[in-house]
Symmetry: C2
Subunit: 220 residues, 2 copies
Amino acid sequence: MVVQKVASHMPTDIPDIVIGRLPIYLRALTQLLNAGRTVTSSRELGEYLGISSAQIRKDLSHFGGFGKQGTGYDVAVLRDKLQQILHVDRQWPMAIVGAGDLGRALAHYRGFESRGFRVAAVFDNDERKVGQSLADTELVIEPMRRFKEVVQANGIEIAMLAVPAEHAQSVTDQLVDACIRAILNYAPINIIVPSNVYVQYIDPVIELQHMTFYLGHQPK
Amino acid sequence: MVVQKVASHMPTDIPDIVIGRLPIYLRALTQLLNAGRTVTSSRELGEYLGISSAQIRKDLSHFGGFGKQGTGYDVAVLRDKLQQILHVDRQWPMAIVGAGDLGRALAHYRGFESRGFRVAAVFDNDERKVGQSLADTELVIEPMRRFKEVVQANGIEIAMLAVPAEHAQSVTDQLVDACIRAILNYAPINIIVPSNVYVQYIDPVIELQHMTFYLGHQPK
DNA sequence: GTAAATTAGTGATAAAAGCCACAAATTATC
DNA sequence: GATAATTTGTGGCTTTTATCACTAATTTAC
């Protein structure tokens, strides 16, 4: 019932910038829970995250009232609500495309399972890599020609793109063709997708350059 | 002279959100340059990046007029300007802290050099890892007790943090103690630093959860 | 049991960010 | 060489985002 209520809120009328903060809140709540905390407040959460308490309250209020005046928020309850809102109260199977250093590091990453995701398949077109199994996993590197088939068989809708920049667009086209709906792009390049496909970018150099602007002019 | 002009613009009066877009522009310009283009326009750049042309023009106008009416922007000139503004017209030596799968993948990443960065040292506290050299690099894994010394000897001001979440804060304290001024944090946890230290976060799960909000409710 | 303290949720306000549209400069066309 | 077409840089406006500050509910202190 509560799930229905949450589910009834359509994405359209909630600012994307608000949505972008929800995973941050969720991560902090999980941390609090692991530390044994049972209640928290917008003030505490805000001080910890460097966000104003009013903003946290207003963000959450888009989805209903989860707190209690005078007390604050039940950490476990709020975490559950956020997991429902973000649809990570289940595990999303994902494909990794590109089995270089980065793709392999992602395949071995132990942090997905507890947060709503699971690496279901790894792809690469290098014939020397195809067929290799990845240590400590049940994964075997598949060739890209099997992509569509494996994606459909496993109900995969999310792909992490970890191929060199020069192949990123053509591989993206293959992902789109296989009905991938969300792409986490690690290639340092903009990719073009249809408007119904979501893309997020991770490029460490972008973040580093953002900081070097402020680091100033005198190199050591 | 032009460098002086750019340098004279102090960060304080330019919105951070503008600064955050400059690396994106720089990346796109480098791509255009590699494709042999010599001139571009705010319209072309905007269509490619999914950003309005007016925004690009206004962002750039914070730093001076780099374009030419009727023509647009000289790609090489604008790229050079952005490199100066972002202070990546040099190479920043960086430390990687944590030599797990991720730290090693970062150490092997070939994409830093051309964009203003260089991995100068890798650290880990696991005695089994210390002393190991990293294939295809001149890097040897150093113990954390040598951190301050190596950082000072190499003029390192930037660290990439790739340790497990449970150690992230205590390691951060060591970074701060060694006068690290910018941290790219890969640990899925908020870290507390003094206000003169810059932090950027990379957590793939945050980006994935942002997308699953929109992916909706019916898992395959 | 009462008063003081705490905290959520929210309408109103303030601040920030983004976009429009135009003048001025340049280039292309014929 | 005149006219049409481009494109920048920007003032002003609109939209979005964030904060303020208040009410109502609850808890704590004594």
